[in-house]
Every structure is written in C-alpha cells, then in structure tokens.
C-alpha cells in the first residue's frame, strides 16, 4: 500500500508497471483503518481479528464491495 500525490499518479504508476489498478482511499480512511487494526497490537491480550471483525473494520471505514471482501 503506497501513498501517491494524486489519483493521476496512481494511474501512471499502474500503467508504467502494467499493474491492474486496485482501490484508493483517503489518508483519513487509512488512519481510521490502521487505528482499528493496530491499536491493540502491543497489548498482552492481543489476538488476531477474526474475519468478521476485520470485515467490520473495513466496512466502518466505508471499504465495502468485492475488492474489500476478505473471503474472495
């Protein structure tokens, strides 16, 4: 997951590398997702999110649809 100056930079990066364009999100969405995903990672009682919990985190940030489906 990379940060780009703007959407057209994503387009150029994909074209020059022959990589299919994925999905973009704002830094605010990225922060919300990272905060939910990693907030507890250093705690002794930490455990991996279940698929359902991970899907809920994505959905809370507005990341829904086939691209964000963790089950494929």
């Amino acid at each position: 997951m990379l940060l780009f100056r703007a959407e057209e930079h994503v387009d150029r990066w994909c074209e020059t590398r022959n990589i299919k364009r994925g999905a973009t999100l704002t830094p605010q969405q990225g922060w919300q997702l990272a905060d939910g995903w990693y907030r507890d990672k250093l705690k002794p009682e930490w455990r991996r999110h279940t698929l359902e919990e991970a899907a809920a985190l994505l959905a809370q940030v507005g990341l829904t649809g086939a691209f964000w489906n963790l089950r494929g």
């Binding site: 997951m1 780009f4 150029r12 364009r21 605010q28 995903w37 990693y38 250093l42 494929g72």
Partner: protein, 154 residues
C-alpha cells in the same frame, strides 16, 4: 501435567510480547539471538516460536534466512515509510503500517514517505489521535482476499 502444545504456546506468547515490546520501546526489531538472551531460551526454541507466529500471520519472516522482517506494523529494516515519534524513527513496510505504528504506540507521529509515482515527499501527521496533516491518496493494488498471497508485494 503440562502438555507440549501448552509449553510451546507459552513460549510463543513470550516471544511475541518480547518482539513487540522491544520494537516499540527501542525502534529496533530484535532478532532471535537478542530474544533468546532476553528470555533465557535457546535460539532454536525462539526460531520455532517465530515460525509459529509467522504461520499465524502475527509477523513476517524474511524468505531467505528466517529473520524477522516485519512484526507489523514495525519493519526491521529501513524503508520508504519513516515514522518519527518520541524522538525515535521507526520504519514500516507500507503506508497502512506506518499509520499503524502511530496507532499501536498511541503517540503523536510524523510519517514521511514519497509519492510512489514521482517520488515527491509526502507527509502525514497524527496528533492526539487524529490525522491533522494529510495529503495524497492511498492505493491498494491487491484485493483484500489476496493480501497474504504475497504479503511483500501487498
């Protein structure tokens, strides 16, 4: 009577806590010799525990030598994603993990990276739990269900 699986489970937990505690406190990811010394265990035991943690997707081992590459969100080697906080510099393997370092530490942080296309410097900043400086757009090239097929590329 303590079963072998319970013993390994306890060791895996100890190793996990040691890796993440040390990475958070020092901004340096410890490797098997340091972990073994800190826990009073053998390197062989620590390697076994690290394999279990990698299998559980708790951290990522380097494919060539089994060293710890990324106890996410931390990265063991300098990268294009720098996170400055508490007078230290941490590294992450991607922008999501860079933001994750600020989240895991619960600290204000400045994240410095560069546009993946043109290499222009880009800066994000977290303060008091909020994104207070923001620019650019994050691109996920890989669909969510394939993230772990090749986590290095993802």
């Amino acid at each position: 009577m303590t079963q072998p699986d319970e013993v390994l489970g306890q060791l895996v937990r100890e190793v996990r806590l040691q890796v993440f505690r040390a990475a958070a406190e020092t901004a340096q990811v410890p490797q098997a010799p340091q972990i073994a010394a800190a826990l009073g265990r053998s390197e062989s035991e620590v390697h076994q525990a690290l394999q279990q943690l990698a299998a559980g997707k708790v951290l990522i081992l380097a494919p060539n030598n089994g060293a710890i590459w990324a106890p996410n969100p931390f990265c063991a080697v300098p990268s294009a994603f720098r996170v400055e906080t508490r007078g230290k510099t941490y590294y992450a393997i991607c922008i999501w993990d860079a933001l994750g370092i600020a989240a895991a530490l619960g600290q204000d942080a400045v994240i410095r990276t560069a546009c993946g296309d043109c290499s222009d410097p880009l800066v994000l900043e977290i303060a008091a739990g909020k994104l207070v400086r923001s620019e650019g757009v994050i691109h996920f090239a890989v669909p969510a269900h394939q993230w772990w097929d090749n986590i290095g590329f993802t």
